[in-house]
Protein backbone atom coordinates (compact mmCIF):
# COMPACT_ATOMS: atom_id res chain seq x y z
CA UNK A 1 0.00 0.00 0.00
CA UNK A 2 1.67 3.20 -1.06
CA UNK A 3 0.98 6.62 0.38
CA UNK A 4 -0.96 7.80 -2.66
CA UNK A 5 -3.46 4.92 -2.46
CA UNK A 6 -3.81 5.60 1.24
CA UNK A 7 -4.55 9.27 0.61
CA UNK A 8 -7.24 8.37 -1.92
CA UNK A 9 -9.20 6.67 0.84
CA UNK A 10 -9.38 9.77 3.02
CA UNK A 11 -12.49 11.51 1.61
CA UNK A 12 -14.47 8.25 1.66
CA UNK A 13 -13.50 7.59 5.28
CA UNK A 14 -14.50 11.13 6.30
CA UNK A 15 -17.80 10.48 4.51
CA UNK A 16 -18.42 7.30 6.54
CA UNK A 17 -17.79 9.10 9.83
CA UNK A 18 -20.07 11.98 8.87
CA UNK A 19 -22.83 9.58 7.90
CA UNK A 20 -22.44 7.88 11.26
CA UNK A 21 -23.21 11.20 12.89
CA UNK A 22 -19.85 12.94 13.37
CA UNK A 23 -19.65 16.61 12.47
CA UNK A 24 -17.27 17.43 9.63
CA UNK A 25 -14.59 19.12 11.74
CA UNK A 26 -14.31 16.26 14.25
CA UNK A 27 -14.50 13.62 11.53
CA UNK A 28 -11.73 15.32 9.61
CA UNK A 29 -9.55 15.59 12.72
CA UNK A 30 -10.12 11.94 13.55
CA UNK A 31 -9.28 10.79 10.02
CA UNK A 32 -6.15 12.95 10.01
CA UNK A 33 -5.04 11.23 13.24
CA UNK A 34 -5.75 7.83 11.74
CA UNK A 35 -3.84 8.81 8.60
CA UNK A 36 -0.77 9.83 10.55
CA UNK A 37 -0.92 6.54 12.46
CA UNK A 38 -1.33 4.61 9.22
CA UNK A 39 1.73 6.28 7.70
CA UNK A 40 3.73 5.18 10.73
CA UNK A 41 2.34 1.66 11.14
CA UNK A 42 1.56 0.42 7.65
CA UNK A 43 5.01 0.10 6.11
CA UNK A 44 5.73 -2.71 8.59
CA UNK A 45 2.26 -4.05 9.20
CA UNK A 46 -0.09 -3.39 6.27
CA UNK A 47 -3.76 -4.16 6.98
CA UNK A 48 -5.76 -6.47 4.72
CA UNK A 49 -8.58 -3.95 4.27
CA UNK A 50 -7.03 -0.46 4.41
CA UNK A 51 -10.31 1.40 4.27
CA UNK A 52 -11.87 -0.62 7.08
CA UNK A 53 -8.70 -0.09 9.13
CA UNK A 54 -8.86 3.68 8.63
CA UNK A 55 -12.60 3.80 9.40
CA UNK A 56 -12.15 1.79 12.56
CA UNK A 57 -9.18 3.78 13.88
CA UNK A 58 -10.72 7.12 12.93
CA UNK A 59 -14.06 6.21 14.48
CA UNK A 60 -12.39 5.27 17.77
CA UNK A 61 -10.42 8.50 17.68
CA UNK A 62 -13.64 10.40 17.14
CA UNK A 63 -15.40 8.63 20.02
CA UNK A 64 -12.43 9.25 22.33
CA UNK A 65 -12.41 12.93 21.44
CA UNK A 66 -16.17 13.21 21.88
CA UNK A 67 -16.05 11.43 25.25
CA UNK A 68 -13.25 13.55 26.60
CA UNK A 69 -15.15 16.69 25.76
CA UNK A 70 -17.73 17.19 28.49
CA UNK A 71 -19.67 19.72 26.46
CA UNK A 72 -20.30 17.05 23.88
CA UNK A 73 -21.83 14.61 26.32
CA UNK A 74 -25.24 15.03 24.86
CA UNK A 75 -24.10 14.23 21.36
CA UNK A 76 -22.18 11.26 22.65
CA UNK A 77 -25.39 9.84 24.10
CA UNK A 78 -27.05 10.28 20.75
CA UNK A 79 -24.23 8.35 19.13
CA UNK A 80 -24.85 5.32 21.25
CA UNK A 81 -28.09 4.89 19.40
CA UNK A 82 -27.28 3.01 16.21
CA UNK A 83 -26.96 5.76 13.57
CA UNK A 84 -29.12 5.50 10.48
CA UNK A 85 -27.23 4.56 7.36
CA UNK A 86 -27.46 7.51 5.00
CA UNK A 87 -28.65 7.04 1.45
CA UNK A 88 -25.63 8.79 -0.05
CA UNK A 89 -22.90 6.73 -1.70
CA UNK A 90 -19.21 7.21 -1.02
CA UNK A 91 -18.88 8.94 -4.40
CA UNK A 92 -21.42 11.61 -3.54
CA UNK A 93 -19.74 12.13 -0.16
CA UNK A 94 -16.44 12.85 -1.87
CA UNK A 95 -18.02 15.37 -4.23
CA UNK A 96 -19.65 17.11 -1.28
CA UNK A 97 -16.32 17.23 0.52
CA UNK A 98 -14.89 19.12 -2.45
CA UNK A 99 -17.71 21.65 -2.17
CA UNK A 100 -17.39 21.96 1.58
CA UNK A 101 -13.60 22.43 1.60
CA UNK A 102 -13.85 25.08 -1.12
CA UNK A 103 -16.74 26.82 0.60
CA UNK A 104 -17.15 30.40 -0.67
CA UNK A 105 -17.05 31.73 2.91
CA UNK A 106 -13.43 30.56 3.30
CA UNK A 107 -10.42 32.66 2.33
CA UNK A 108 -8.76 31.01 -0.65
CA UNK A 109 -5.58 30.05 1.22
CA UNK A 110 -7.66 28.25 3.86
CA UNK A 111 -9.82 26.53 1.26
CA UNK A 112 -6.65 25.28 -0.42
CA UNK A 113 -5.23 23.90 2.83
CA UNK A 114 -8.49 22.25 3.84
CA UNK A 115 -8.97 20.68 0.39
CA UNK A 116 -5.45 19.26 0.43
CA UNK A 117 -6.07 17.73 3.83
CA UNK A 118 -9.67 16.49 3.70
CA UNK A 119 -9.92 15.56 0.02
CA UNK A 120 -6.26 15.13 -0.87
CA UNK A 121 -5.33 13.25 2.28
CA UNK A 122 -2.11 15.17 2.85
CA UNK A 123 -0.95 15.57 6.41
CA UNK A 124 -0.71 19.01 7.98
CA UNK A 125 3.06 18.60 8.02
CA UNK A 126 3.17 17.95 4.26
CA UNK A 127 0.92 20.92 3.48
CA UNK A 128 3.01 23.16 5.73
CA UNK A 129 6.20 22.02 4.00
CA UNK A 130 4.70 22.67 0.57
CA UNK A 131 3.79 26.23 1.55
CA UNK A 132 7.00 26.83 3.53
CA UNK A 133 5.27 27.69 6.81
CA UNK A 134 5.65 26.08 10.25
CA UNK A 135 3.39 23.11 10.89
CA UNK A 136 1.69 24.87 13.83
CA UNK A 137 0.78 27.81 11.58
CA UNK A 138 -0.81 25.52 9.02
CA UNK A 139 -2.62 23.56 11.75
CA UNK A 140 -4.12 26.82 13.03
CA UNK A 141 -5.16 27.90 9.54
CA UNK A 142 -6.92 24.59 9.00
CA UNK A 143 -8.75 24.62 12.34
CA UNK A 144 -9.87 28.22 11.75
CA UNK A 145 -11.22 27.15 8.37
CA UNK A 146 -13.11 24.26 9.94
CA UNK A 147 -14.59 26.52 12.62
CA UNK A 148 -15.79 28.87 9.95
CA UNK A 149 -17.71 26.21 8.04
CA UNK A 150 -18.95 24.43 11.17
CA UNK A 151 -22.66 23.82 10.83
CA UNK A 152 -22.52 23.62 7.05
CA UNK A 153 -23.88 20.20 6.26
CA UNK A 154 -22.51 17.89 3.63
CA UNK A 155 -25.75 17.74 1.69
CA UNK A 156 -25.90 21.38 0.66
CA UNK A 157 -24.97 21.82 -2.97
CA UNK A 158 -21.72 23.70 -3.43
CA UNK A 159 -20.22 26.07 -5.89
CA UNK A 160 -18.28 24.16 -8.53
CA UNK A 161 -16.58 27.36 -9.71
CA UNK A 162 -15.00 27.82 -6.28
CA UNK A 163 -13.81 24.20 -6.23
CA UNK A 164 -12.16 24.66 -9.62
CA UNK A 165 -10.49 27.89 -8.54
CA UNK A 166 -9.07 26.16 -5.44
CA UNK A 167 -7.64 23.32 -7.54
CA UNK A 168 -6.22 25.87 -9.99
CA UNK A 169 -4.49 27.64 -7.08
CA UNK A 170 -3.02 24.36 -5.84
CA UNK A 171 -1.73 23.64 -9.35
CA UNK A 172 -0.11 27.04 -9.66
CA UNK A 173 1.79 26.62 -6.39
CA UNK A 174 3.76 24.07 -8.34
CA UNK A 175 6.62 22.34 -6.69
CA UNK A 176 8.36 22.92 -3.40
CA UNK A 177 9.31 20.57 -0.64
CA UNK A 178 8.42 16.89 -0.59
CA UNK A 179 4.96 17.23 -2.12
CA UNK A 180 4.46 18.03 -5.77
CA UNK A 181 1.37 20.23 -5.62
CA UNK A 182 0.93 20.33 -9.39
CA UNK A 183 0.73 16.54 -9.51
CA UNK A 184 -1.58 16.62 -6.49
CA UNK A 185 -3.88 19.13 -8.22
CA UNK A 186 -4.01 16.90 -11.29
CA UNK A 187 -4.86 13.88 -9.15
CA UNK A 188 -7.68 15.79 -7.45
CA UNK A 189 -8.96 17.19 -10.76
CA UNK A 190 -9.02 13.65 -12.20
CA UNK A 191 -11.00 12.47 -9.20
CA UNK A 192 -13.39 15.41 -9.53
CA UNK A 193 -13.81 14.75 -13.26
CA UNK A 194 -14.83 11.19 -12.40
CA UNK A 195 -17.46 12.50 -9.98
CA UNK A 196 -19.07 15.14 -12.16
CA UNK A 197 -19.43 15.56 -15.90
CA UNK A 198 -19.34 19.39 -15.98
CA UNK A 199 -17.34 20.43 -19.07
CA UNK A 200 -15.38 23.02 -17.08
CA UNK A 201 -13.98 20.27 -14.82
CA UNK A 202 -12.69 18.55 -17.94
CA UNK A 203 -11.44 21.92 -19.17
CA UNK A 204 -9.44 22.51 -16.00
CA UNK A 205 -8.03 18.98 -16.05
CA UNK A 206 -7.00 19.42 -19.69
CA UNK A 207 -5.41 22.78 -18.89
CA UNK A 208 -3.38 21.27 -16.05
CA UNK A 209 -2.24 18.30 -18.16
CA UNK A 210 -1.19 20.54 -21.04
CA UNK A 211 0.83 22.85 -18.78
CA UNK A 212 2.28 19.97 -16.79
CA UNK A 213 3.44 18.36 -20.05
CA UNK A 214 5.79 21.30 -20.63
CA UNK A 215 7.18 21.40 -17.14
CA UNK A 216 10.58 19.83 -17.79
CA UNK A 217 11.36 22.52 -20.36
CA UNK A 218 10.21 25.52 -18.36
CA UNK A 219 13.25 25.95 -16.14
CA UNK A 220 16.96 25.69 -16.74
CA UNK A 221 19.95 25.47 -14.43
CA UNK A 222 19.44 27.07 -11.02
CA UNK A 223 15.70 27.44 -11.54
CA UNK A 224 16.22 29.85 -14.41
CA UNK A 225 13.01 30.60 -16.29
CA UNK A 226 12.98 29.54 -19.95
CA UNK A 227 10.34 31.41 -22.00
CA UNK A 228 7.99 29.41 -24.21
CA UNK A 229 9.65 30.41 -27.47
CA UNK A 230 13.05 29.13 -26.25
CA UNK A 231 11.87 25.89 -24.67
CA UNK A 232 13.27 22.58 -25.85
CA UNK A 233 10.07 21.07 -27.26
CA UNK A 234 11.57 17.58 -27.33
CA UNK A 235 11.24 17.65 -23.53
CA UNK A 236 7.48 18.05 -23.72
CA UNK A 237 5.51 15.02 -22.54
CA UNK A 238 3.57 13.96 -25.65
CA UNK A 239 1.43 11.44 -23.75
CA UNK A 240 0.15 14.13 -21.37
CA UNK A 241 -0.44 16.47 -24.31
CA UNK A 242 -2.43 13.82 -26.19
CA UNK A 243 -4.49 13.10 -23.09
CA UNK A 244 -5.12 16.78 -22.42
CA UNK A 245 -6.16 17.44 -26.02
CA UNK A 246 -8.53 14.44 -26.03
CA UNK A 247 -10.18 15.54 -22.78
CA UNK A 248 -10.49 19.10 -24.07
CA UNK A 249 -11.99 18.06 -27.40
CA UNK A 250 -14.61 15.92 -25.65
CA UNK A 251 -15.47 18.86 -23.40
CA UNK A 252 -15.71 21.34 -26.29
CA UNK A 253 -18.23 19.17 -28.15
CA UNK A 254 -20.61 19.70 -25.23
CA UNK A 255 -20.90 23.32 -26.34
CA UNK A 256 -20.78 24.83 -22.85
CA UNK A 257 -17.65 26.89 -23.10
CA UNK A 258 -16.05 28.24 -19.94
CA UNK A 259 -12.82 29.99 -19.06
CA UNK A 260 -10.85 26.82 -18.27
CA UNK A 261 -11.79 25.22 -21.59
CA UNK A 262 -10.75 28.40 -23.41
CA UNK A 263 -7.44 28.54 -21.53
CA UNK A 264 -6.87 24.85 -22.27
CA UNK A 265 -7.55 25.52 -25.96
CA UNK A 266 -4.81 28.15 -25.96
CA UNK A 267 -2.42 25.77 -24.17
CA UNK A 268 -3.32 23.05 -26.70
CA UNK A 269 -2.45 25.33 -29.62
CA UNK A 270 0.97 25.99 -28.08
CA UNK A 271 1.47 22.28 -27.41
CA UNK A 272 0.52 21.53 -31.01
CA UNK A 273 3.24 23.72 -32.54
CA UNK A 274 6.45 21.86 -33.38
CA UNK A 275 8.39 25.11 -33.13
CA UNK A 276 7.61 28.56 -31.75
CA UNK A 277 7.48 29.87 -35.34
CA UNK A 278 4.75 27.39 -36.22
CA UNK A 279 2.42 28.62 -33.46
CA UNK A 280 -1.07 29.38 -34.74
CA UNK A 281 -1.29 32.86 -33.21
CA UNK A 282 -4.38 33.81 -35.20
CA UNK A 283 -6.36 31.01 -33.60
CA UNK A 284 -4.87 31.83 -30.21
CA UNK A 285 -6.13 35.41 -30.53
CA UNK A 286 -9.60 34.03 -31.33
CA UNK A 287 -9.54 31.97 -28.14
CA UNK A 288 -8.39 35.02 -26.17
CA UNK A 289 -11.40 36.87 -27.59
CA UNK A 290 -13.65 34.09 -26.28
CA UNK A 291 -11.86 34.18 -22.94
CA UNK A 292 -12.22 37.93 -22.71
CA UNK A 293 -15.94 37.71 -23.50
CA UNK A 294 -16.31 35.12 -20.71
CA UNK A 295 -14.28 36.86 -18.02
CA UNK A 296 -13.70 40.51 -18.95
CA UNK A 297 -10.47 40.08 -16.98
CA UNK A 298 -7.68 42.65 -17.38
CA UNK A 299 -5.13 39.82 -17.06
CA UNK A 300 -6.71 38.14 -20.08
CA UNK A 301 -6.62 41.46 -21.95
CA UNK A 302 -2.91 41.74 -21.14
CA UNK A 303 -2.11 38.25 -22.40
CA UNK A 304 -4.29 38.80 -25.44
CA UNK A 305 -2.11 41.79 -26.34
CA UNK A 306 0.93 39.49 -26.54
CA UNK A 307 -0.94 37.13 -28.85
CA UNK A 308 -2.16 40.03 -31.01
CA UNK A 309 1.45 41.25 -31.20
CA UNK A 310 2.49 37.85 -32.58
CA UNK A 311 -0.47 37.49 -34.95
CA UNK A 312 -0.72 41.03 -36.35
CA UNK A 313 2.57 42.72 -35.46
CA UNK A 314 3.93 44.77 -32.59
CA UNK A 315 1.93 47.92 -33.34
CA UNK A 316 -1.34 45.98 -33.24
CA UNK A 317 -0.17 44.44 -29.97
CA UNK A 318 0.58 47.86 -28.50
CA UNK A 319 -2.85 49.07 -29.61
CA UNK A 320 -4.45 46.03 -27.91
CA UNK A 321 -2.55 46.95 -24.76
CA UNK A 322 -4.03 50.46 -24.72
CA UNK A 323 -7.03 49.59 -22.55
CA UNK A 324 -5.02 47.71 -19.90
CA UNK A 325 -4.16 49.35 -16.59
CA UNK A 326 -0.39 49.86 -16.15
CA UNK A 327 -0.65 48.93 -12.48
CA UNK A 328 -1.31 45.31 -13.46
CA UNK A 329 1.45 42.80 -12.63
CA UNK A 330 3.46 41.99 -15.78
CA UNK A 331 2.11 45.04 -17.64
CA UNK A 332 5.62 46.46 -17.98
CA UNK A 333 7.01 43.11 -19.07
CA UNK A 334 4.44 42.87 -21.88
CA UNK A 335 4.93 46.52 -22.84
CA UNK A 336 8.72 45.96 -22.92
CA UNK A 337 8.35 42.89 -25.13
CA UNK A 338 6.07 44.67 -27.63
CA UNK A 339 8.21 47.83 -27.57
CA UNK A 340 11.30 45.76 -28.39
CA UNK A 341 9.49 44.07 -31.27
CA UNK A 342 8.40 47.49 -32.49
CA UNK A 343 12.09 48.42 -32.68
CA UNK A 344 12.46 50.97 -29.85
CA UNK A 345 15.31 49.24 -28.02
CA UNK A 346 16.25 52.14 -25.77
CA UNK A 347 12.76 52.32 -24.29
CA UNK A 348 12.41 48.52 -24.24
CA UNK A 349 15.56 48.15 -22.12
CA UNK A 350 14.25 50.72 -19.62
CA UNK A 351 10.87 48.97 -19.52
CA UNK A 352 12.44 45.54 -18.92
CA UNK A 353 14.49 47.01 -16.07
CA UNK A 354 11.35 48.64 -14.65
CA UNK A 355 9.46 45.35 -15.04
CA UNK A 356 12.19 43.47 -13.17
CA UNK A 357 11.73 45.83 -10.21
CA UNK A 358 8.01 45.01 -10.01
CA UNK A 359 8.31 41.27 -10.73
CA UNK A 360 6.39 39.00 -8.38
CA UNK A 361 8.84 36.08 -8.30
CA UNK A 362 12.60 35.64 -8.20
CA UNK A 363 12.82 33.64 -11.47
CA UNK A 364 10.68 36.29 -13.21
CA UNK A 365 12.77 39.11 -11.81
CA UNK A 366 16.00 37.45 -12.92
CA UNK A 367 14.58 36.70 -16.35
CA UNK A 368 13.51 40.33 -16.86
CA UNK A 369 16.90 41.61 -15.66
CA UNK A 370 18.54 39.37 -18.23
CA UNK A 371 16.17 40.66 -20.92
CA UNK A 372 17.06 44.26 -20.03
CA UNK A 373 20.74 43.34 -20.25
CA UNK A 374 20.23 41.59 -23.60
CA UNK A 375 18.46 44.56 -25.19
CA UNK A 376 20.99 47.01 -23.72
CA UNK A 377 23.82 44.94 -25.18
CA UNK A 378 22.15 44.95 -28.61
CA UNK A 379 22.01 48.76 -28.33
CA UNK A 380 25.71 49.02 -27.47
CA UNK A 381 26.63 46.71 -30.36
CA UNK A 382 24.40 48.75 -32.68
CA UNK A 383 26.10 52.00 -31.61
CA UNK A 384 29.57 50.49 -32.08
CA UNK A 385 28.55 49.21 -35.50
CA UNK A 386 27.33 52.66 -36.48
CA UNK A 387 30.69 54.14 -35.45
CA UNK A 388 32.43 51.43 -37.49
CA UNK A 389 34.24 49.95 -34.47
Amino acid sequence: MNELLLRELVPAVIGVLVRRGADFASAEDAVQDALVRALEAWPEDPPRDPKAWLVSVAWHRFLDAARSDASRRKRELALEVEPPVGPASATDDTLRLYFLCAHPSLPQASAVALTLRAVGGLTTRQIAAAYLVPEATMAQRISRAKRRIAGTTLDQPGDLGTVLRVLYLVFNEGYSGSVDLAAEAIRLARQLAALTDAPEVAGLLALMLLHHARRASRTGAGGRLVPLAEQDRSLWDTNLIAEGVAILQAALTRDRLGEYQAQAAIAALHADARSAAETDWVQIVEWYDELLALTGSPVVRLNRAVAVGEADGAQAGLAALAGVGPELARYNAVLAHLTERAGDLERAADLYAEASRTAVSVPERDHLTREAARVRQALVRGARGARGE
Binding site: G223, A353, R365, D366, A373
Partner: protein
Amino acid sequence: MKYLLLKHYRGAPAAVNDVPMDRWTPEEVDAHMQYMYDFAARLERGGEYVDGQALAPEGAFVRYDGEGRPPVVDGPFAETKDLIAGWMIIDVESWERAVELAGELSAAPGAGGRPIHEWLEVRPFLADAPSATE
Protein backbone atom coordinates in the same frame (compact mmCIF):
# COMPACT_ATOMS: atom_id res chain seq x y z
CA MET B 1 25.74 31.00 16.06
CA LYS B 2 23.29 32.47 13.62
CA TYR B 3 23.98 35.54 11.52
CA LEU B 4 21.79 37.53 9.19
CA LEU B 5 23.36 38.66 5.93
CA LEU B 6 21.44 41.63 4.54
CA LYS B 7 21.65 42.70 0.93
CA HIS B 8 20.49 46.25 0.28
CA TYR B 9 18.92 47.88 -2.74
CA ARG B 10 19.64 51.23 -1.09
CA GLY B 11 20.94 52.45 2.22
CA ALA B 12 24.30 50.69 2.15
CA PRO B 13 27.45 52.38 0.78
CA ALA B 14 27.75 51.96 -2.99
CA ALA B 15 29.48 48.86 -4.34
CA VAL B 16 32.96 49.32 -5.81
CA ASN B 17 31.91 47.89 -9.17
CA ASP B 18 28.64 49.84 -9.11
CA VAL B 19 26.91 49.35 -12.47
CA PRO B 20 23.12 48.77 -12.58
CA MET B 21 22.39 45.16 -13.47
CA ASP B 22 20.39 45.96 -16.60
CA ARG B 23 23.60 47.43 -18.04
CA TRP B 24 25.53 44.18 -17.69
CA THR B 25 25.62 41.64 -20.50
CA PRO B 26 23.19 38.70 -20.22
CA GLU B 27 26.19 36.42 -19.63
CA GLU B 28 27.33 38.60 -16.73
CA VAL B 29 23.80 38.46 -15.27
CA ASP B 30 23.83 34.66 -15.57
CA ALA B 31 27.27 34.39 -13.99
CA HIS B 32 26.12 36.51 -11.06
CA MET B 33 22.97 34.43 -10.50
CA GLN B 34 24.95 31.21 -10.78
CA TYR B 35 27.46 32.43 -8.21
CA MET B 36 24.73 33.24 -5.70
CA TYR B 37 23.02 29.92 -6.36
CA ASP B 38 26.25 27.95 -5.99
CA PHE B 39 27.16 29.86 -2.82
CA ALA B 40 23.86 28.96 -1.12
CA ALA B 41 24.09 25.35 -2.33
CA ARG B 42 27.63 25.01 -0.99
CA LEU B 43 26.65 26.42 2.40
CA GLU B 44 23.70 24.07 2.50
CA ARG B 45 25.92 21.05 1.81
CA GLY B 46 28.32 22.22 4.51
CA GLY B 47 25.53 22.64 7.07
CA GLU B 48 25.95 26.42 7.36
CA TYR B 49 22.83 27.52 5.51
CA VAL B 50 19.57 28.24 7.34
CA ASP B 51 17.32 30.23 5.05
CA GLY B 52 17.30 33.01 2.50
CA GLN B 53 14.64 35.04 0.72
CA ALA B 54 14.46 37.86 -1.79
CA LEU B 55 12.23 40.85 -1.06
CA ALA B 56 10.31 43.09 -3.42
CA PRO B 57 11.34 46.75 -3.47
CA GLU B 58 7.80 47.82 -2.56
CA GLY B 59 7.18 48.30 1.12
CA ALA B 60 6.18 50.90 3.66
CA PHE B 61 6.65 52.03 7.22
CA VAL B 62 3.48 51.49 9.25
CA ARG B 63 2.53 52.53 12.75
CA TYR B 64 -0.37 52.51 15.21
CA ASP B 65 -2.43 55.68 15.09
CA GLY B 66 -4.61 55.38 18.18
CA GLU B 67 -7.71 53.57 19.34
CA GLY B 68 -10.24 52.83 16.61
CA ARG B 69 -8.14 54.32 13.86
CA PRO B 70 -6.49 52.51 10.98
CA PRO B 71 -2.68 52.30 11.12
CA VAL B 72 -0.73 55.12 9.53
CA VAL B 73 1.10 54.04 6.40
CA ASP B 74 4.11 56.11 5.48
CA GLY B 75 4.75 54.71 2.10
CA PRO B 76 5.85 53.74 -0.33
CA PHE B 77 9.49 54.05 0.70
CA ALA B 78 10.93 57.40 -0.25
CA GLU B 79 14.20 57.44 -2.18
CA THR B 80 16.22 58.27 0.90
CA LYS B 81 15.10 55.26 2.91
CA ASP B 82 16.99 52.04 3.33
CA LEU B 83 15.72 49.23 1.13
CA ILE B 84 16.49 45.59 1.74
CA ALA B 85 16.71 43.39 -1.34
CA GLY B 86 16.96 40.12 0.50
CA TRP B 87 18.49 38.21 3.34
CA MET B 88 20.26 34.99 4.13
CA ILE B 89 20.59 33.38 7.52
CA ILE B 90 23.70 31.32 8.15
CA ASP B 91 24.59 29.22 11.15
CA VAL B 92 28.37 29.25 11.59
CA GLU B 93 30.99 28.70 14.26
CA SER B 94 32.18 32.25 14.73
CA TRP B 95 31.89 35.91 13.81
CA GLU B 96 35.08 35.47 11.77
CA ARG B 97 33.46 32.74 9.68
CA ALA B 98 30.36 34.92 9.14
CA VAL B 99 32.54 37.79 7.95
CA GLU B 100 34.52 35.45 5.71
CA LEU B 101 31.32 34.17 4.05
CA ALA B 102 29.87 37.66 3.65
CA GLY B 103 33.14 38.65 1.97
CA GLU B 104 32.80 35.71 -0.39
CA LEU B 105 29.23 36.63 -1.24
CA SER B 106 30.29 40.20 -1.90
CA ALA B 107 32.78 38.89 -4.46
CA ALA B 108 30.00 37.73 -6.78
CA PRO B 109 30.88 38.67 -10.35
CA GLY B 110 29.29 41.85 -11.70
CA ALA B 111 29.79 44.12 -14.69
CA GLY B 112 32.79 43.14 -16.80
CA GLY B 113 32.96 39.82 -14.94
CA ARG B 114 34.78 41.59 -12.10
CA PRO B 115 33.70 41.17 -8.46
CA ILE B 116 30.89 43.50 -7.52
CA HIS B 117 32.46 44.41 -4.12
CA GLU B 118 29.01 45.10 -2.73
CA TRP B 119 28.60 46.00 0.96
CA LEU B 120 26.63 43.37 2.86
CA GLU B 121 25.37 43.89 6.38
CA VAL B 122 26.17 41.12 8.87
CA ARG B 123 24.13 40.97 12.09
CA PRO B 124 24.44 38.36 14.83
CA PHE B 125 21.20 36.88 16.19
CA LEU B 126 20.58 37.28 19.91
CA ALA B 127 20.25 33.87 21.55
CA ASP B 128 16.76 32.65 22.50
CA ALA B 129 17.72 31.92 26.10
CA PRO B 130 20.49 32.93 28.50
CA SER B 131 23.34 30.47 28.54
CA ALA B 132 22.84 27.69 31.12
CA THR B 133 26.48 27.63 32.14
CA GLU B 134 26.80 31.25 33.26
